[in-house]
Symmetry: C2
Subunit: 198 residues, 2 copies
């Protein structure tokens, strides 16, 4: 193993480690309660060194947001392999329910981040989380459209709103079973949808 390989293997991935740590810690603690030191510690990187990779704290928040959207893109990419759009949507709901323990403790990563960033009055990152949610809406809308259902965008809105609502309640009440109950309802709802008229 060469020196450069060691350097890459040990220290060269610090940016990646910081991004992953930011995604996790910001989800768990929220943006405002998380300090740069918290993220640096979680990533095992010296505090002052963070600023070599990210000029500001907001840059770290943005990187965490990008990490979550990347994660979502991977998930929908996998689901796209399923031939039936309805199965893709059902599997999406199943994936949400599978994350119920995390959701009950910390909520939906994107949803809770959006709530927090939306409180900002300055025009910095207050709209960024909305784009991540729109990505999910667009994908779900495409599935409903492929199923030949009318008002596919309305259906996507209902599906995603259902997910955000059950995540928030599961979190606020600290009860993962809420994800199971509401997830089952969403699945029944998906099964009941049929193309309009005759």
């Amino acid at each position: 193993m060469t020196d450069s390989a060691v350097s890459r293997g040990r220290g060269g991935d610090k940016r990646r480690r910081l991004t992953a740590a930011a995604a996790r810690v910001l989800h768990e603690q929220g943006v405002e309660r998380t300090t740069i030191a918290d993220i640096a510690k979680a990533a095992d990187v010296p505090v002052g060194n963070v600023y070599y990779y990210f000029k500001t704290k907001d840059d770290l928040v943005q990187a965490a947001l990008a990490e979550h959207t990347h994660h979502l893109a991977e998930l929908t990419g996998d689901l796209d392999r399923l031939p039936d759009p309805r199965d893709r949507l059902r599997s999406l709901v199943a994936a949400w329910v599978g994350q119920r323990e995390v959701a009950a403790r910390y909520g939906c990563p994107t949803g809770t981040l959006a709530v927090e960033l939306d409180k900002r009055a300055d025009g910095t990152l207050d709209r960024e989380a909305g784009r991540a949610i729109r990505q999910l809406l667009d994908w779900a809308g495409a599935q409903f459209r492929e199923l030949g259902l009318s008002d596919p965008d309305d259906l996507a809105l209902t599906l995603v709103a259902g997910y955000q609502g059950m995540s928030l309640l599961a979190n606020a009440l600290r009860d993962p079973d809420i994800m199971i109950r509401e997830g089952a309802r969403l699945t029944r709802w998906l099964d009941s949808l049929a193309p309009a008229g005759r």
Copy 2:
């Protein structure tokens, strides 16, 4: 007018002014981004004087939370005057839609507060917002029960989750129309519910 009346009229309601200001400002800016000075300024009370009425910042947060639950209790109290439980629920949805501009900018007061407080690892106020939400769940459950529907608590969960979901999406996408679209869907859903078969 006596001196004491003046004193009550001008300065004696400072605690009330602080509570009202806290409820509004904490909803708009979030807990962590709001300083005591922000609340004091909004209430027109000198900064250092706040600590005479509230020992800590968390006491102010708790007072704001109580203000929101009080507001909710007033609303459901008014709705209780309607003879038909289904009308009560329909009016509740209408009230939510009526608040769509505020929801699109700042989200549901209780829901967004819950999201933020749930991020706390210390056992201070992290469960307090959940109690406020459970109050709404209980009231809605009672209405569904009075309608003779089966699984009234599940229905209440679906209703409140629908509200929280549409508020979060309207907020994240800055689009009050989402409240109208999803509100109409919830109303149709309420209309469609019928007691389980004979």
